[in-house]
């Protein structure tokens, strides 16, 4: 098998070519062949080892042998987050515990968490896709990587740690939180790249400004940000304030963790590591597979996972597969960056509201990209929506009238975008809780009130 790979030397981004990245350049025909053979063994494994998959396939009148080509995947039943909860903790494992070397769990917002498992080979695959992710972002041996993802049950910390070490970079396993220390370490250790959630990094940028530290004057040149949706405006703000290139990385614990897809320096969509994860876009209502370019829900199937194969997992993330080749030369298909999740949708007074719409309204009001939170309450049976906005130095004025006009401008922009009136409350900096580094955008108190 001779894949067309860049000659030894450097990649388009100027970084040395990382041998682990060879599969990024497989010709499409070879990649599809590899996907089909891996898909068939994954389905066979799930069928023979996981009762839920076997019974679902039987109900649908299917056997593993029915899978003759890649398009046949559309006949297989979906797997949802509810299936992971219902089989808590180990019901979807396809390996005996003696073959499992690691467990992670996601913090469930309702009830039980979901538990995911890795064999030694799974950890190696995960490490390899993280190595490829960092290489795609132009990182290489010699980089000093500050890993500010939370270490622990959350997959972000250890996933990025193994990947950066595998790449040959120097890893600082600082984990999340303690922002003043993060800034000190960044400056004193000559950090060249950072991994964190984008909302946490924005917080770090604001804090550095307060402390009088100019991030643009530091060697920091790249940030690899993920674990939550973010916008193009947030990226621009991060890049200009910190003087870095900001890359979007995508992943989810149910599938492997971070390292499912990542942006290259073209920053035009995220390359999916298709040799390990098979992507489909489906209509969130009907489940019908949509053609490339159409927006819908991302569905992922793992192609090499042993301990916990995932067949057609409904990610709830809304995106599209991008037709055409990328300027960087990778043959891996790209998906658009995730702007919203289908389960982010809120119903307020019968109207659909997405947190991303609130963010768009805040961005529209000149000079504000603040930390915010949506609080839903119920007064006399009527839903009330309040948007709390942390005051930033750029927004603040010593004059009451200026702040009131700002408040009115935000209210107006929200009403324009949402179609309903929202109360806007300016709050003091750092008063909106940040949990686990991920921004908690919505507090729904409606159900707590009779």
């Amino acid at each position: 098998m001779t894949a067309r790979t860049p000659a030894a030397g450097t990649t388009a981004s100027g970084a040395p070519f990382q041998p682990a990245s060879t599969p990024d350049y497989l010709p499409a025909a070879i990649l599809r062949e590899l996907q089909l053979s891996r898909l068939r063994s994954t389905v066979e494994r799930a069928w023979s080892r996981v009762p839920l998959y076997r019974s679902r396939m039987k109900q649908a009148g299917l056997e593993p042998a029915d899978l003759q080509n890649l398009d046949d995947i559309a006949a297989l039943p979906f797997t949802t987050k509810a299936d992971l909860r219902d089989t808590y903790p180990f019901g979807l494992f396809a390996s005996p515990m003696e073959d499992i070397v690691r467990l992670h769990a996601s913090s469930g917002t309702t009830g039980k968490p979901i538990v995911v498992a890795y064999t030694r080979q799974d950890v190696e695959v995960w490490t390899s896709v993280m190595v490829r992710s960092f290489a795609t972002c132009g990182l290489h041996a010699g980089d000093i990587v500050q890993n500010a993802y939370g270490y622990g049950l959350f997959t972000g910390g250890l996933g990025a740690h193994y990947g950066a070490e595998g790449l040959g970079a120097t890893v600082i396993p600082i984990s999340g939180g303690n922002t003043d220390r993060q800034i000190m370490v960044m400056r004193d250790f000559g950090v060249t790249a950072i991994c964190s959630t984008p909302s946490y990094f924005l917080h770090l940028v604001d804090r550095a400004a307060q402390l009088g530290v100019d991030l643009r004057a530091l060697p920091l040149r790249a940030g690899v940000f993920g674990a939550e949706p973010w916008t193009g405006c947030m990226r621009k703000r991060i890049e200009s304030l910190a003087g870095i290139q900001a890359f979007d990385i995508y992943g989810l614990s149910e599938v492997i963790g971070p390292g499912v897809a990542v942006e290259c320096p073209a920053q035009d969509g995220l390359h999916i590591f298709e040799d390990h994860f098979y992507p489909e876009i489906v209509d969130p209502e009907t489940g019908r597979v949509l053609p490339d370019g159409d927006e819908g829900e991302l569905v992922l199937t793992t192609l090499s996972k042993q301990a916990m194969p995932m067949i057609r997992y409904r990610t709830r993330d809304i995106t599209s597969l991008m037709p055409g080749a990328c300027a960087c030369g990778r043959s891996l298909r790209r998906m658009r960056r995730i702007g919203r999740r289908s389960d982010d949708m809120l119903f307020v007074r019968g109207v659909n509201v997405f947190p991303s719409q609130v963010e768009a309204a805040l961005l529209e009001v000149e000079g504000t990209l603040p930390h915010y939170q949506i609080v839903l309450t119920s007064e006399q049976g009527l839903d009330q929506i309040e948007v709390q906005v942390e005051v930033t130095p750029e927004m603040f004025s010593d004059q009451i009238g200026v702040l009131e006009r700002l408040n009115h401008r935000i209210s107006g922009a929200l009403e324009h975008v949402l179609g309903i009136r929202a109360k806007v409350t300016l709050v003091e900096p750092l008063t909106i809780k940040r949990s686990e580094g991920k921004a908690r955008r919505v507090i729904d108190r409606r159900r707590l009130q009779p």
């Binding site: 307060q210 402390l211 009088g212 005051v391 930033t392 130095p393 603040f396 004025s397 010593d398 004059q399 009451i400 702040l403 009131e404 408040n407 409350t425 300016l426 709050v427 003091e428 900096p429 750092l430 008063t431």
Partner: protein
């Protein structure tokens, strides 16, 4: 001539004004003058302090949003008509007072007025023409 006033954003909730005051007290910074402008939902604490640069840095490190504004301080006799005499200087002039506050001064029978003008330099010229004393920063701030 111009003084540096610190403005601090505060939510209109019990206990929110005391936090910045505590920070300054702990660091031995003296509050020379103060006013609290408030609306139903939020307030702005305006302060003239003994060391505005250090105060700004300390408050920001404590997480507050702080803005520095140049204001003028004018000394007037603490008697009926004292304020009116100062305001006369601006009659018929296109100089606006954005806001003002007053406090009695410990040095005898004088009061000090703090003004935020939209055109501070024009305001200084006007006051001087009327023979009204604009306090130098040394009178209220230390350096």
């Amino acid at each position: 001539m111009k003084l540096h006033q610190l403005s601090v954003f505060s939510e209109n909730k019990p206990g929110h004004v005391i936090a910045p005051c505590r920070v300054l007290a702990r660091e031995g910074i003296d509050i020379r003058a103060l006013s609290l402008a408030d609306t139903e939902r939020f307030g702005i604490l305006r302060l003239i302090v003994s060391d505005w640069k250090r105060a700004k840095a300390l408050l920001e490190q404590a997480g507050s949003v702080v803005k520095i504004t140049e204001v003028l301080a004018v000394e007037v006799p603490d008697r009926p008509g004292g304020l009116a005499e100062v305001l006369e200087a601006f009659q018929g002039r296109a100089i606006n007072i954005e806001y003002m506050y007053a406090f009695p001064f410990a040095r005898g029978e004088k009061a000090v007025l703090i003004f935020r003008f939209d055109q501070p330099d024009a305001a200084i010229a006007r006051l001087q023409q009327h023979g009204i004393q604009v306090l130098s920063s040394g009178a209220l701030e230390e350096h």
